[in-house]
């Protein structure tokens, strides 16, 4: 091509998101026509699997950092499931008067992982399908807002704590697509700001931190769904034996794309560290080629998120009360606790400098 908008990858993400938003809100018939191709959860899962290899090559040069990331990942699980979910469930039930059927998936969407968690928890407590479906729509709206705001907040206040910023994106932004995308934008912004001050960090660490924190949270969706399903089917809405929660639901609800992420991560790590030098030296270039496809899938994710974010239709649905719970919980609690705990685990740790 002889022309270009000269956007960086991250600029292209925002452009794709805005294009999707325009289509969703001003060209509803076109949005309806392409709806079968609008699969943000699929695209981001492919991107995350590719990201596993990329992050392995990045992490191979600083394995000692893995212990902090591992601890932060475990802490993210504890935060999201045991603290966030409990607080948001209480807020939805006690302050806003939502029923149990609405509160459980809503709390899952706000505190754990947006779309996937809302659907998993809704299914586990045997909620009507409409409940997690509407919650999922709301999650996307707020995820779009977070993607457009939080990376710039991170650049302004956390430019000198890049890994705090990355972990914060993984915890504060719900849905895999938006969280990883926020990590990518945050990385671009923070690396640029530091570069302007003469500090050139190695790329990939902020994005990798955000993605790893998010993946850790995703791992336990099935477990939490089983826990809640057990409580609901045995103590709240007691069901016949055949309909009670079963252990196999943990595997059924386990996000299988994480296996792909772990495989590409392990493969990348092995190729980088466990092969002769003449093979290992070619791995970064090979991963760089794959990275091109990751960027493409990121763009598809951003575009799809935008297309699904029909603000007018959701307003007509009467989302005010649901949105109020979301806003109060996310902006009043989840984001700030996530920042605090990211700070506790990552303050003072910086990515290696670019060679």
């Amino acid at each position: 091509m002889s022309w270009s908008l000269h956007l960086t990858n991250e600029g292209a993400y925002i452009f794709a998101l805005l294009a999707g938003l325009v289509i969703a809100n001003f060209l509803p018939r076109f949005a309806e026509a392409i709806k079968d191709a609008v699969r943000p959860e699929l695209y981001i899962k492919v991107a995350i699997v590719i990201l596993g290899g990329f992050f392995a090559v990045t992490a191979a040069g600083k394995l000692g950092f893995a212990s902090s990331l591992l601890l932060r990942g475990v802490a993210a699980i504890v935060e999201a499931y045991l603290i966030y979910w409990a607080v948001v469930y209480f807020i939805a039930r006690k302050w806003f008067g939502f029923s149990r059927e609405w509160s459980a998936p809503l709390a899952a969407g706000i505190s754990i992982c947006g779309v996937s968690a809302a659907i998993a928890i809704g299914g586990a407590i045997r909620a009507r399908p409409i409940v997690p479906a509407l919650v999922s729509s709301l999650v996307l709206i707020f995820a779009v807002l977070e993607v457009l705001i939080l990376p710039f907040v991170a650049q302004t206040w956390l430019a000198h704590e890049p890994l705090v910023a990355g972990a914060w994106m993984g915890l504060a932004v719900k849905t895999d697509g938006a969280a990883v995308a926020s990590g990518a934008i945050t990385e671009s912004l923070i690396l640029a700001k530091n570069a302007s001050e003469g500090v050139h960090y190695q790329p990939g660490w902020i994005l990798g931190t955000a993605a790893t924190v998010k993946v850790f949270i995703d791992i336990f969706i099935g477990v939490w769904a089983f826990v809640l399903g057990y409580i609901w089917t045995n103590h709240i809405n007691v069901t016949p034996a055949a309909e009670k929660a079963r252990l196999r639901e943990i595997w059924e609800r386990f996000p299988k794309f994480i296996i792909g992420f772990l495989i590409t991560f392990a493969l990348g790590l092995y190729l980088s560290l466990g092969t002769p030098a003449d093979i290992a030296k070619n791995v970064p270039a090979a991963v760089g080629e794959a990275n091109t496809f990751r960027v493409i899938f990121f763009i598809l994710t951003f575009f799809s998120i935008g297309v699904l974010s029909n603000f007018r239709a959701l307003w007509q649905e009467g989302f005010g009360k649901l949105a109020a719970v979301y806003a109060v919980s996310l902006f009043g609690f989840v984001i700030w606790v996530g920042l605090l705990i990211s700070w506790i685990f990552f303050n003072g740790i910086t990515p290696p400098l670019a060679s």
């Binding site: 802490a75 504890v78 045991l82 469930y89 007509q316 740790i349």
Partner: protein, 55 residues
């Protein structure tokens, strides 16, 4: 979405639903989740503090 549930039904449901008081099991779930969560976070933070992140 509208095929599954009429908009007016959904809005009416959220607007007119009677409050369901918290059951003892819900209070137990919330309090134990928060208690265990806070305790684990403290433990993890201490481990993170005393285990160097590595070069």
């Amino acid at each position: 979405m509208s095929d599954l549930y009429r908009q007016s039904d959904y809005r009416n449901e959220l607007r007119t639903a009677h409050a369901e008081p918290l059951l003892p099991i819900e209070k137990t779930l919330i309090s134990w989740s928060l208690g265990i969560g806070l305790a684990l976070l403290v433990v993890l933070a201490l481990v993170n503090h005393f285990v160097p992140p590595g070069a």
